[in-house]
């Protein structure tokens, strides 16, 4: 009799655990439905510069290393690596069980080919500059790759997470030619399935993925250009994950039905107002400081962005290594909104109450969101006596004018390509990078040049961090840009989506869906 009880107990326990596990342990199956605003221009890793392409291609390809959800560099195809003492030789030991979607085993030679392809001028990769520090790349043996740098370059490992360094199979690239961009073959958890241009793209699970088959059977991206229609699709349950349009934010974020399913995360980027410091009258530091002090950032974030961003004072966002609390406090003290102080600075600049200052133009690229913010800044400037008008251009024209230094006051945003202060402070403020290369302020300060150059080749993090802190302080004081806010990424998902996270760099477009699973198919 006791045995029978025990049996019952055992069966009961099994059911109990089975019940628990079905809710908490990942399940296989189902297709995740997403949307994109545009058809991605390309799925060839060497050619990607936009987030739509990046989101899709990220599921199909892998690189040597990748970021984990916390922004730490971890191994991907490389299971481990070592860096020579002088910081110029990187040796990567590859996993030997990685296969391209065509079935061929991935070896070190494939990385040699893929990296050299980006460096080859014939490829015309828009990201060739990322490979600039590389002197040579060789396969030491079948699964050992050695990359030699021209000089030590501290952020190198971080840059290797970038899409242009993902591995591609030579035979497919050569066979398909330009069509490789629309029929990609990689090593990732998902394989290319179908692409109807401007309609949808679908991927299917790679059963032989080296880290095990993903939970999802596939992913489908519908191309939906209108954000309102996109959100209607989500509310109807036709999409599993999407972003929330600004006008819907208050309603959605206060709805108990949706509230538990909103994910938020700061991403490493800033929205700012830039000045061309070589152009009159913005070559005047006090005038720039007066403008910085006159802008009510809190109001912009609260009223216009509906708190969907975080007020910025520094250039490096808080989630970036090297972020300095000291600099933040200092800048907040010196540049927070204060009309009286702004007026004093304006007088110091030689324009008391704006007298003698010609009307300035605030430039922005066409978008309602930017326009609202520029209007707020315009009104703020008016309060201290600066007359400003607004002017906008399409992105193509805007970039061109920025490169040529023709916009004295402009709005811009910058989101990190790789998680390293170098990508902000060196790219945007080193005088080697005037114009298209990132320094649209045409800012030059010998100390900043020196610190950001030294930090590039220094390998000891504590020393680098000090250089960046000193450089950032000088830049903040000189005011070539006014940080407005740090970006926050937000998405909403359906209750049946599990395992979702936001990438610290790019939010939703940086997610690898191999860890996501659905509790409803």
């Amino acid at each position: 009799m006791r045995k029978v009880y025990l049996m019952f107990l055992l069966v009961f326990l099994i059911f109990l655990f089975a019940g628990v596990s079905s809710a908490d342990t990942p399940q296989y199956g189902g297709v995740l439905r997403r949307s994109l605003v545009n058809d991605p221009p390309t799925l060839d890793p060497a050619m990607i510069t936009d987030t739509a392409s990046d989101e899709v291609a990220r599921q199909i390809f892998d690189g040597l290393v990748e970021y984990d959800p916390n922004g730490k560099v971890v191994g991907s195809i490389a299971k481990k690596w070592s860096i020579s003492k002088d910081g110029t030789v990187y040796t990567f030991y590859l996993n030997n069980n990685v296969y391209f979607h065509n079935g061929r085993n991935v070896t070190a030679e494939d990385f040699v080919y893929s990296i050299k392809r980006v460096m080859d001028p014939k490829t015309a990769s828009p990201r060739a500059s990322f490979a600039e520090p590389i002197k040579d790349v060789v396969a030491k043996d079948k699964y050992t790759l050695v990359i030699t740098l021209k000089r030590p370059f501290a952020p190198f490992l971080s840059t290797l997470t970038y899409s242009c360094f993902w591995v591609v199979p030579k035979e497919e690239v050569e066979k398909l030619g330009k069509d490789f961009a629309t029929r990609p073959v990689g090593t990732g958890a998902f394989m290319f399935n179908e692409w109807k241009h401007d309609v949808k793209i679908s991927l299917k699970a790679n059963p032989k993925y080296f880290r095990g088959r993903p939970y999802l059977d596939g992913i489908e991206w519908m191309i939906i250009p209108d954000e309102n229609v996109d959100f209607m699709n989500f509310e109807k349950g036709q999409l599993d994950v999407t972003t929330i349009p600004d006008p819907e934010w208050d309603r959605v974020s206060n709805d108990p039905k949706y509230k538990p399913y909103i994910l938020e995360k700061p991403i490493i980027g800033i929205y700012y107002l830039g000045f061309n410091v070589q152009k009159k009258p913005l070559d005047n530091k006090y005038l720039r400081q007066a403008i910085a002090r006159a802008i009510n950032k809190e109001a912009i974030v609260k009223v216009i962005r509906r708190n969907r961003a975080q007020v910025a004072y520094t250039i490096l966002p808080p989630s970036m290594p090297g972020f300095s609390k000291a600099n933040y406090d200092w800048a907040k003290e010196k540049f927070s909104y204060n009309v009286a102080e702004a007026k004093k600075l304006l007088a110091k600049a030689g324009y008391p109450d704006g007298k003698g200052l010609p009307e300035i133009t605030l430039y922005y690229n066409s978008s309602v969101a930017h326009k609202r913010i520029m209007e707020a800044i315009q009104a703020d400037l008016e309060k201290i006596g600066i007359k400003a008008k607004l002017q906008n251009y399409d992105w193509a024209v805007y970039l061109d004018l920025l490169d040529k230094g023709e916009l004295p006051v402009y709005r811009l945003g910058w989101v990190a390509d790789y998680i390293d202060p170098d990508n902000f402070l060196w790219v945007l403020f080193n005088s080697a990078n005037f114009g298209p290369e990132g320094n649209h302020s045409f800012y030059k300060n010998d100390k900043v040049d020196e610190y950001t150059n030294k930090a590039r080749i220094e390998t000891l993090w504590s020393v680098r961090a000090k250089y960046y802190e000193m450089a950032e302080r000088i830049i903040l004081e000189d005011c070539p840009i006014v940080p407005i806010y740090y970006y926050i990424s937000q998405i909403i998902y359906q209750p049946w989506v599990n395992g979702l996270y936001l990438d610290p760099l790019t939010g939703i477009s940086g997610v690898r869906y191999r860890v996501v699973w659905l509790s409803k198919k």
Binding site: D50, A181, T182, H197, V229, A396, D417, P436
Partner: protein
């Protein structure tokens, strides 16, 4: 007749060259470098120069134009700067989608518009007449974007009868209903007003009075004698509607995620994607020319006095 068609088609050649030349020149006058756009927000000068040379953007304007004309003769529109996909392929796919949408929109516009217009004219100052004309006024004034979103909200979102945008390949013929109504609304309203005034003019003519005096039944008077003549301005306008449909298609295609040529061309302008823009413009010009040709030919069917020599 055949000679007329051939002559009309030959006349299209200078139109083509003019259209390509103007697009080409405008493209180069407008600021915004396609190579810069391909390279993204941050790029070194070397990379930009390399992209420019690969796409031949560093050659003199005249050389680029001649190369382009040379390719056109071989029916090669090149590849998109941005996506690298052959332009002819992109246009082929998108044109098909726009044609389907425009066809249904056109049918809706004609059926609804002309019928309402004729009835309004015959029953002038009746309740139907007033209602139809108020609706037509609304139809002319309502922005395409607004109409589209409202239709989606009602029939797609609240009632759930029709898909929330998307193409036929995904949702079947259901997908075309709302976009076609959205796109057809404005021309339908024009057709209604045009058909009404034209019909009113015709039924006041003496030969109609004569027909009535002969004791013909009213239906025969309207359909056999009045309608044909009343339709001539409608047919002329029908040719112009093609243009309306193509421009309206840009917005409609955006709201309904319809993979058409309107969206393609607008995106090409924003991306400074010259090959796609050129191809798109040529195709659209061709459509206009064909539409006008068809209108001219259909006059003969409606009005036997017109002959082509």
């Amino acid at each position: 007749m055949l000679r007329y068609i051939v002559r009309r088609l030959l006349q299209a050649i200078p139109v083509f060259i003019g259209v390509t030349l103007i697009t080409f020149i405008l493209f180069f006058i407008a600021p915004g470098d396609p190579a810069r756009l391909i390279a993204g927000q941050r790029a070194d000068a070397e990379t930009i120069a390399r992209i420019r040379s690969i796409w031949g953007l560093d050659k003199p304007l005249a050389v680029q134009y001649l190369l382009f004309l040379g390719r056109i003769i071989r029916l090669d529109f090149g590849r998109s700067f941005k996506t690298n996909i052959p332009v002819i392929e992109s246009i082929g796919e998108r044109l098909q989608a726009t044609a389907v949408l425009a066809f249904f929109a056109f049918i809706i516009a004609i059926l609804l518009g002309v019928t309402a217009g004729i009835i309004s004219a015959v029953k002038q100052y009746s309740f139907f007449d007033y209602t139809a004309m108020v609706i037509a006024l609304l139809g002319v004034s309502a922005p395409v974007y607004w109409v589209g979103i409202i239709l989606l909200l009602i029939f797609g979102f609240k009632l759930g009868w029709l898909p929330l945008g998307g193409y036929i390949s995904e949702y079947g013929i259901k997908a075309v209903i709302l976009p076609a109504i959205t796109l057809g609304t404005r021309p339908a309203a024009y057709f209604a007003r045009l058909a009404r005034s034209s019909m009113l003019e015709v039924i006041r003519q003496e030969y109609i009075t004569t027909a009535r005096a002969k004791g013909l039944p009213e239906s025969k008077v309207i359909f056999k004698h009045a309608l044909r003549n009343a339709l001539i301005p409608v047919v002329t306008y029908a040719g112009m509607v093609v243009g309306d449909l193509l421009t309206g298609a840009v917005l409609t295609e955006t709201i309904f995620a319809w993979p058409g040529i309107g969206r393609l061309v607008v995106q090409a302008i924003l991306d400074r994607d010259l090959p796609v823009l050129q191809g798109g413009v040529i195709v659209i010009a061709l459509i206009y020319i064909l539409a006008n040709l068809i209108v001219d030919l259909s006059y003969a069917l409606i009005d036997p006095r017109i002959r082509y020599e």
